[in-house]
Every structure is written in structure tokens, then in C-alpha cells.
Symmetry: C2
Subunit: 551 residues, 2 copies
């Protein structure tokens, strides 16, 4: 293989400099997760397919990477399918034998095929092994078309022995496979799939280990996830998620702490001035009640979100186009001028939603969270109420969070989360409320790069390179290197006896600040030549001084 | 879905306690890698299939997890295959038309089928899109059998229109797919595969980024790999590898440093007394020369390795059984009594291999490494020469390493490595020597658990739990919690106003050493009740004292 090697689209190699920067962010997030009492878990990269499939909607199912079964992955499917096809043809044969004089017109063919398929599915236990949407309908269509297309075959079928029946089965099988929907086929040849997010595996973990877990359980998880998304700038097929969730407590103090956690992480990263936007699913439900159309809620929030861009008239126009009535828009007029402090905004909402029980619950939750966050204070972040925030509308039931990069940085949300009252219900454990937040590592890294927030020291290269003048000198150097390393000082020997120029260049290119020069005279005097590669300054020092200068 | 959720066999969930222990090992390894001048890189979890396939032998290929193409993964394969089958049948039709009067016996059928297949493969460009071993032979067989089985078909074929030709193609296609070797099929529906080890992706990385890399390149990589191995005790389908490699230098100082690196890591983990076994591929080649049978080398080392168990006579018997001659065994007699210091062992080898140029190269390399390691000294590990060490015989070209757990601990090797002169050759970059070592995380963790080496402090839980007596008290607590966290002290609030008993129990089960009690009187006096949960001792303290006691 001599072609230039490459990696799959949407994936990335990370160089030492990149790993160092990413680790700096990971470790800041981790430290803060732990400071707030969250504990790490890890789950496998792949889960059983049925754990993941059907949890992210139809679009999500398509984007899940499936792992091909090892060994004879196609066998069960083939055998089961062939079995059912043969049964259908066998039924068909019997029907024809039973009705030798019928007119073999299309109605007859369609009727007996349908009956043959029906009976085969009723009686055949192997069908259970085939997971294929509309399998019955497709086989029905293929077989009746087949015999309609070539009517003599029906007569032939009547007299077929078992072998010939098998042969016809092959044809039907061939037609089926060659036109089969790949995505329906895939469930039969894949039992495992790569993790799509960290929330569903976490829910699975909680249910599976419920007897070992002490609730409320505050867990964090920092692991890669995979999505077969169309790769584009800033969107990858493999990327890390950093999640902190609490499960098993309804307390709103969790929401207060999660806002503080966002503030703490972004402040420590030097990314001051992020806006933590908060909303509540119950408030959205209240608004839906007021506009009298819960199915229009997304349209409503999407339109309202454009207020800054297209103005009140534009928003109103869009809402009307989407079928929201003039009267409804009139009722929520206060949302068109939704400014002021958080408390003023909450006050406006309380008036607007006064008649909605659900809405008022949301207002009270919001009040509790905002009051306490305000009283306790934030380091550098701003908290803001944003009623257009509607992320995760299908699963969040309480608070909804989203973090926007500091003003002036063009970047989508760099974090998000919320509360879901029934996190583990999909796996059979009811009444487990969960609330959590997530950090978008890749976007945070892009923002930090743009604003120039990575500390110089992040890329921890060696402190000194010992040049190599020969084995005797190298051995002398290695003795010093061993002692320095035991003191935790990163130093290394240039391995080859290359030209000294080349060795200096190596230190330079690697960003190593000092070179240590050991020749015969240094060995004699038990000294070391230490050269500062930035200033060019050079001095002879004993070992103790070397330690001091490199520490 | 109400079934009890589970994870795929061979994979694991890691609880907070397990993650903490594993991270302790990871971070010790990482610190030492960096102290020795290695820098981290990361590569994608999945690579293009062609990057991995064919690099690990046939057995390895089978154990690689393949990722199903997303979208209509079956389409290209189906279309290409159908195209070639149709061409074959079309050719066949023409041959029959051209020979209307031939006797349609089996020889004729087989001859024209073979010719039809041959020509179709010669002319049809779509065949290139099908990656299937023995495709030509299989189609030949299927088609000739088909027409031999039902000779009338040949006559029918002669008069077939295009539609009927398609129908016959479907039958052939069906027969092919239903009997196809799944593993040959898989290359057509998978373009990506999960990483099987870290060495091949590293070689790919070096070649792909050769212009950005400053050589010699010392890289480390700690990432999971996946193998579809039969799961068993201590063998998993997802596990971490921790590799350090140097590429682009032939210097034997690297081998010296890698021995020191093993010593440094295991010493720091408290795992004193490991044995770092060393051998050299060139010495094995020398021995092969002496016994006059390089194909018997594995048999020879396997037998010799049993010396302790079955004695010299047993070993000799086994060697004779494997076809190694009496004379050859006589020549390598010194290896049957291969004891003493490393230097004595090297001396014996030098005599034994005196006439083998390759063997003597190995002896000299070994001498350099052992002399320097001995002079520089090891902290707690032992270096030993083991001529039966033959791991990676197919790719290692120089030093071979393996680390054995301390005596008395029943565990296979906990690390291994070696030098491969042509690391990147498979990707077209010649003459890049690499040498590296690997740490077996799972086994190291098992050994440390067995010997009880994990420090108590590894599981960093919160230092104190603030009990929750109500919102007013919680707010007072949260103010203190915020300040404590800013000082880096891990504390948390119990989120719910549950019974105090339950809250104490929570702290206990979580292993949190202190509870902080805040009631009305504490708020009034600006105090905190601090209870040591181990001793039961309780005191009232002001905030400054609280900080001191929890720090």
C-alpha cells in the first residue's frame, strides 16, 4: 500500500500541541466537576443497538454508527428470510393445486399471494429473527409481481419439486435483497452501535446499576461520541462531550449549582462574560396555552428569536404565516418588548401566565433559581432569561440552559442542558428526575484559540536537551538526566551523535528552552555547559546549580 | 423497552471508584512519559478500513470491528454485482445463439460459462468496485450449476429479452448472496474500522504528518482499542493501550531509556520487583542459524521456555518431536544451562553465536543496553536476559522487551515492546526505525488491586456534606460552599430537605468524612456545626476554622 494515508472524513488527528490545549480545557472542567461533588463514570464506546436505537428520533437513528457483527453476520438473516420465502411459495403451490381451474388473472394471483404471505407469517417462527420494516408488504409485492410478469411460472410452480421451489426462492430473495432498504437491512447485521451521546448511556448505567448507586447521584462523564453527520466546519463525526448530571433529586438547588458550575469553569478558563441563558419548559407550555396552540410552540419561539434581526413587525408577519392567530399574538404582546432585569422579566411572565397553572409553576421555579443565583453572585458570567430558548423541547420538562460565548465572539452555543423528569423511564425505572449540563469542548477550544486564552505553559515540552557528543559523554549526561527526572524535571538526551548544528535545531524546533553541553572538559570538572537558547547566554554550572536553573 | 438493560459482552462500565483507580495509573504513566520527553498525540477511534486491514495477519483482520457504511451501504455492491452477472448472462446468450446445434452437455455448459465469465470480467469496469475474494470462481460455479441443473433454461435464455435476463440475474444474485462468505461481503459495506492497536495508527500518523514532525519523534498515546476477541477473564473487547515510541533514530540509548521508563513507572506505582526481560531479534536469528532451521525458531523458543517446568530432558524431547535435529540441540547446549548474571549470559551467547554475523550484532546491542542500564542503575526493577522471549517475531528487528509482574503474583506480562526497523514502510515511508514499549493497563490494575497498592486518597470524594434543613439554611450553606470551592475544597449541599437520618446515611455511603450542620442558631451566631463522621465528634466553628479543618 503506497497511497498517501488519510483518515476518515469528519475525524481528526491531534498533534502534541493540540492534545495539550484540549487537556487544559478537560482538566479545568474536571477539577470543577469534582469541586462541585460530581464523580466520574465511564461507559463502553459501543452499546447494544437496542439501547440506542429509537432514542434520538428517526434522524438520530440514521446518524448512529453501527458496528458490523463479527463472523457470519449475514447468516441468520439469510436463513430466516429464505425460510419464510420458501413457506410462502409452498403455500402458493398448494393454493394453485387446490384451484386448478381458476382463471389465473391478476386478481387471482394477488389474492392467493396475499393469502400465502399471510399464512406464512402467521405460522413461521423464524420471522421473529428478521427485523425489517414492511417485510410482509414487500414480499407480497415482489412475489405477486413476479408471477404476474411471467404467468407460465404459476403452472410450473404447481409441478415444482422442493429443489425447484428453492430455486424460485432464490430469485425472490435476490429481488428482495437487491432492492432492500439498506437501513432496514442494517438492524439484522449489526448488534452494536457507537455511543451517540452520553445521556442515554448514563440512563442505561443508572438503571443497570441502580442497586449499587447511592442517590442522589452526581456523575460526570467526559468521553467521545460519534455521529454520522455530514462533516462541516466545527462539526465532526467524532467529538468529546463533557456532561455533569444529577439524578434522583427534584431540588432546584441543583439548577442553582449548575449555573454556578458554568460560571466557575468559564471564569477559570479566563473566558469571562459568557451569558448563561435560562428558560423553563413549563413557561413554554404556559405560552402555548396562551396562544392556544401547543403544536405551534416551536414556530412561535423560532419567530420570536428573530426579534433583534427582523423587528416586531417581521416577527408578527412570520407568526401569522405559520398560522398563529392575530388574537394570540395580541395576548403575548409583552414578549415583544421583553427587556429589563431578570426580575422585571419574571414579573412580566407572571402577569402573562397568571391563568396558566403550568406556566406559573415555571415562573416560580425560575424565580427560585434566579433569586438564589443573584444572592450568591457569579464570578464573571451573566445570567439571562430567554423565553425563546426551546432546546430539547421533547425531553426537558423543567429548566433549560444554554451558554453563549462572550459578546463579540461569533460562535453558537458553547454549552447547554436542562431538567428531564423521567430520565430513566426509557429503561423501565420510573420517577427518576435528572438535571444536567454539557460543555461543548470543540467550540470552547475554538473560542479560546480566537481570544488567545491558552497559557504559554500549556504545551509542556522538555526543559532541556542534553546534546550528544558520543557514548562516553552520553553516559555522563544520562546520570544527570536520571537524577533530574527523579526530581520531576523533564529533560532528555538527543539520541544520535548527529552534527551539533542539527541537535541545536532540534531543541529549537521542539521549543525546548535550554541545551546542556557535555564534552570531555565538563566530565573532568564534573560540570555542565548550560545554554539558554532564547538569549544565547551560556554558562558552566555544577549539578546542584543545574537543578536550580532547570527547576 | 422494559427489558433490563445490559452492555455488549467484553465491554465494561466503570464506577467512580474504578475510574479513580484507573486514572491514578494513567496519570502516573503519563507523568513519566512526559518526564522522559514523550509528547501525546491522539488519533481517531476509527480509521479507513484499508489502513488497518492486512496489517495484523488473517486472524487480526477477523478481529477488527468494522463499521457499517451509513446511508445506502449496500447499493454500490448490489449494482456492481448485478451488472457483472447480467453481462455474463448476456455473453452466455450470445454463445448459445452462435452455437445453436451444439450438444448442451455439461462440458459445453461449463466451457461457455467459463468463457462468458472470463470476458465479462475482462471488459466490465464495475468489477473493480467489488472487493470479493474468488468472485470470478464463485459466479462461474453458480451459473454453470444453475444451467446444468435445469437444461431447458439454456434454450429459454437464448430467446430471453432484457427483462427476462434481469430476472435470471436476480436468481444468480440471490444464490450468490445467500451463500456468500460474510467476511468477504463485509469489505463492500464497511469503509471504516475501529482501531485495533496504537502502532499502526501511529505509523499512519507519522507518514501523513511527516512534514510537520520534528524527528526523532518521541510520542506517547493512551487510548482505547477494540478487538472482536472471544471475551474471557482479563481479556476485553474494549481496552486501553498506553504506548511510548520513538521514531526516526537508531540510537540504542532509546532502549536504555525505555528500560528506565519501565522502572520509573512501576517504582512510582509502588510495584517494586518487576522483571524487565530483554532479548534481541538478531540473537534469535543467530540461534536459528546455529540450529540450521529458521522455520523452527518458534518451536525452539517455546520448548526452551518450558525448561523450568519439564526439565532439560523434556525440552529436548519436545525439540526432537518438532523436528530439530540431535546435532542442532547439541550445539545450543549452553542455552539449557543459561544462568548467571546478565554479563555471564551475554558471554555465553557470544561464544555460541561467534560464527553468526547477525547473532553477534545482537550480542553487541544487548551488551550496550545492559552495560549502560547497569551502570546507571534501576530503582526497583530487575533487568534479565531471556533468550526464549520471542514476541512480535514477525515485526521486531532488534530489542524485544517484556515485563513480568513481581514474583509471587500470578499474572502474564504487564508490558512489552521492541524495535522495528521499518515502522512506516507499510505506508510508503522507508527507513524509519521505531522502538517502543506498551503498558498493559488492565493487568497492572488487577495486580495493584491484588497487592493492595492503590492509595486511600485515590477516590477523591467530597470533604464535607452540608445537610439541608430548609431553603433559608441552604442559602446560608451555599454562601459558605461557594467560598470553600473557590479555595479548591470539594464540598456539597444535600439537595433535598430529606430526613436528617437519610442525609447522614448519604454522607456515610459516599465516604464523605464530614457533615456540616446549619440550623437557625448557627445562622444567628454565624457558625457551622462540624461533625466528624468517623469519630462522631462535633463542634461549632466559625468560617475561618471551617476552612482550616476541611483543607
Amino acid at each position: 500500500m503506497a497511497q498517501k494515508p488519510s483518515i476518515p472524513k469528519g475525524t481528526r488527528d491531534f498533534s502534541p500541541a493540540e492534545v495539550a490545549k484540549r487537556n487544559y480545557i478537560f482538566s479545568t472542567i474536571k477539577t470543577n466537576f469534582e469541586k462541585f461533588g460530581f464523580q466520574p463514570i465511564e461507559t463502553p464506546s459501543f452499546e447494544n443497538s437496542e439501547t440506542l436505537m429509537g432514542k434520538y428520533g428517526e434522524e438520530g437513528d440514521r446518524l448512529i454508527f453501527k458496528i458490523l457483527n463479527s463472523g457470519d453476520f449475514f447468516d441468520v438473516f439469510n436463513k430466516s428470510l429464505m425460510e419464510i420465502i420458501k413457506t410462502i411459495l409452498f403455500n402458493l403451490q398448494n393454493f394453485i393445486k387446490a384451484n386448478p381451474d381458476s382463471n389465473k388473472n391478476s386478481e387471482f394471483v394477488e389474492a392467493i399471494t396475499s393469502k400465502a404471505v399471510q399464512e406464512a407469517f402467521l405460522r413461521n417462527p423464524v420471522v421473529e429473527k428478521i427485523d425489517y420494516k414492511n417485510l410482509k408488504e414487500e414480499l407480497n409485492l415482489i412475489i405477486s409481481n413476479h408471477f404476474l410478469y411471467k404467468p407460465d411460472l404459476l403452472e410450473e410452480l404447481k409441478n415444482s419439486n422442493n429443489d425447484l421451489l428453492s430455486l424460485y426462492s432464490m430469485t425472490v430473495f435476490g429481488i428482495f435483497i437487491s432492492s432492500a432498504q439498506s437501513r432496514h437491512l442494517s438492524t439484522n447485521i449489526t448488534e452494536k452501535a457507537l455511543r451517540y451521546d452520553l445521556t442515554v448511556p448514563f440512563a442505561r448505567y443508572v438503571v443497570q446499576h441502580q442497586n449499587e448507586i447511592e442517590f442522589p447521584f452526581k456523575r460526570y462523564q467526559i468521553q467521545p461520541v460519534w455521529r454520522a453527520d455530514r462533516p462541516q466546519k466545527g462539526r465532526f463525526r467524532e467529538f468529546y462531550q463533557c456532561d455533569a448530571d444529577v439524578v434522583g433529586s427534584n431540588s432546584l438547588w441543583q439548577e442553582v449549582e449548575l449555573v454556578q458550575l458554568y460560571d466557575s469553569v468559564f471564569s477559570q478558563l479566563g473566558l469571562g462574560g459568557v451569558t448563561i441563558k435560562i428558560n423553563n419548559r413549563k413557561i413554554l407550555s404556559g405560552i402555548a396555552e396562551v396562544i392556544g396552540a401547543s403544536d405551534k410552540l416551536i414556530d412561535f419561539t423560532v419567530a420570536l428569536d428573530k426579534l433583534d434581526k427582523i423587528g416586531a413587525d417581521g416577527v408578527k408577519k412570520e407568526m401569522l404565516e405559520k398560522g398563529i392567530s392575530e388574537a394570540a399574538i395580541e395576548k403575548v404582546q409583552p414578549l415583544f418588548n421583553f427587556t429589563g432585569t431578570i426580575n422585571e422579566k419574571i414579573e412580566k411572565l407572571a402577569q402573562l401566565l397568571a391563568n396558566s397553572e403550568e406556566g406559573m409553576k415555571g415562573v416560580n421555579e425560575l424565580q427560585f433559581i434566579c433569586d438564589n443565583v443573584t444572592t450568591l453572585g457569579l464570578q464573571t458570567a451573566f445570567l439571562d432569561l430567554d423565553v425563546t430558548l426551546a432546546r430539547g423541547l421533547n425531553y426537558y420538562t423543567g429548566a433549560i440552559f444554554e451558554v453563549a460565548a462572550p459578546k463579540g465572539v461569533a460562535m453558537g452555543s458553547i454549552g447547554g442542558g436542562g431538567r428531564y423528569d423521567d430520565l430513566t423511564g426509557i429503561f423501565g425505572l420510573k420517577n427518576m428526575s435528572g438535571v444536567g449540563i454539557s460543555f461543548g469542548l470543540d467550540r470552547i477550544a475554538l473560542v479560546m484559540e480566537e481570544v488567545g486564552l491558552f497559557p504559554e505553559a500549556v504545551l509542556a515540552t522538555s526543559k532541556a536537551l542534553f546534546l550528544n557528543f558520543g557514548d562516553k559523554e552520553a553516559l555522563y549526561s544520562m546520570k544527570a538526566i536520571g537524577k533530574l527526572r527523579q526530581k520531576g524535571i523533564k529533560v532528555e538526551l538527543y539520541p544520535d551523535q548527529s552534527k551539533i548544528d542539527k541537535q541545536f535545531k532540534h531543541a529549537d524546533r521542539r521549543g525546548i528552552p535550554f541545551a546542556v553541553i557535555v564534552g570531555e572538559s565538563e566530565i573532568e570538572r564534573e560540570e555542565f555547559g548550560l545554554k539558554n537558547l532564547a538569549t544565547g547566554e551560556q554558562q558552566k554550572v555544577d549539578f546542584a546549580t543545574l537543578v536550580t536553573l532547570l527547576q
